[in-house]
Amino acid sequence: MSVLRLSHGAIFLCVFTGCVSLDKDAASALALAGATASQAIGDQSKSANETVAVLPEWWGVTSALNCASVADSQMRSECLKQATTAVSPALQSDLAKISDVLKKRAAAALQLRTAYQSFGNLVAYNAGEELRTSLNLTFASVNSLLDSVQKLTPGAAFPPISSTFVTSVGKVGGFLADQHQKKQILLASKDLHTAVSSFADALTVERNKVASESFLAQLAHEQGTLYAALIRSGLISPKDALAPLVTTLGQGIPLSQAYAEKNSQVASAAAVISFNARTKRREETIISTYDASLAALRSLAAQHQKIEEGASVSIEGIIKDAQSITADLQSLPSSK
């Protein structure tokens, strides 16, 4: 009897509201990929923003260390007077603008990460309420980012996005409950699809992309300039600065401390050359991680489309992009 009743319910549901064909395993996999990718993008923006806050300190220290090049002591004193962490009001204002965009980008990405985690929980144990809250916060964060990008980009249109996800349902069981859950997953997938697409659009707009790539590369350069000044000054041992290069030779033979001490000028020059070359490579790599972020978001959007069509998904590319962003983060300047 109960089977018959369920079948009637199922038929009723399918006839009047349509049966949902959805691969829950695919949705679970997409939840993991989405959380991994958005975490990586959020961490990158957060780390870059933290570095913006310490740039004036880096500049002041570099400037002071560079004064060591001035041989005359009176002139050196003049030089040191200009070495300061103070920046002009105009520069301060520009750094604040850059920081604001990075903060909004990080907030949107990390909120998206939470929404993907809730999406995974919806698939695992029907956590509809949790997801509704996460999606609302995600849409608010993405809208805040879209708003700031729109203000920076005359003529561009970034209309605000809104959630269509609903959780309301009466008490149902068995097939009906499964259908209800699948419908919720589908609705949530559509919302996440909207959110990642808008996020990717905001990151793709030329003004945002070009400035962001240059800026991320410049952070690596600023780090390199400070490090070179520290090596030249002798505050960082040239031997230690050359150690990563020697490690790449793979022979396991340590550098001579005695030589570095006796020939500090030569060792220091060699260390600065090596470090500058590494910095240049880092600058090139860091630009590709911005493209990896965009690729990950675009792939997520494409996989949502597949979920909505009842097809299986492919998340390998998304995970790979997220891993490349995360790997790069380990060498990003850290303000901590």
Binding site: W59, T62, S63, N66, C67, A68, S69, V70, A71, Q74, M75, E78, C79, Q82, S88, A90, L91, D94, L95, K97, I98, L152, T153, P154, E206, R207, N208, V210, A211, E213, S214, F215, Q218, H221, T225, A228, A229, R232, N276
Partner: protein, 111 residues
């Protein structure tokens, strides 16, 4: 027509040239005024770069193209002066000209 990336990178090269060469330029300075001028040029080049990043430099026009062409010429002039180890007053005038050209590019290409 140039794109925002070329403009920003041109301004960035001017800033990094001033920053990367600051130790050598300071070592070559012979007067306190030269020391101050080298530091002031670096500070100005830095401000222009971060202003360009905050703006994006997407505005187009003949004046933008002209300003960009002048930054390229100024950059070459600095390179040439460095290559022949020009005396500090000569180098300083070229550094100032390059930073002024970068500033002009920012001014006309900013929104």
């Amino acid at each position: 027509m140039t794109v925002a990336q070329e403009r920003i990178e041109s301004i960035r090269r001017n800033y990094n040239d001033a920053a990367d060469n600051e130790p050598d330029d300071l070592a070559a300075a012979r007067t306190p005024a030269q020391v101050t001028a080298i530091q002031a040029n670096l500070a100005k080049a830095r401000s222009i770069y971060f202003a360009a990043i905050a703006d994006g430099l997407t505005k187009n026009g003949d004046d933008v193209e002209e300003a960009f062409a002048l930054t390229v010429i100024a950059e070459e002039t600095v390179k040439e002066a460095r290559a022949r180890s020009a005396a500090v007053p000569d180098l300083l005038s070229k550094l100032r000209a390059a930073t002024s050209a970068a500033g002009k590019l920012y001014q006309v290409a900013s929104n």
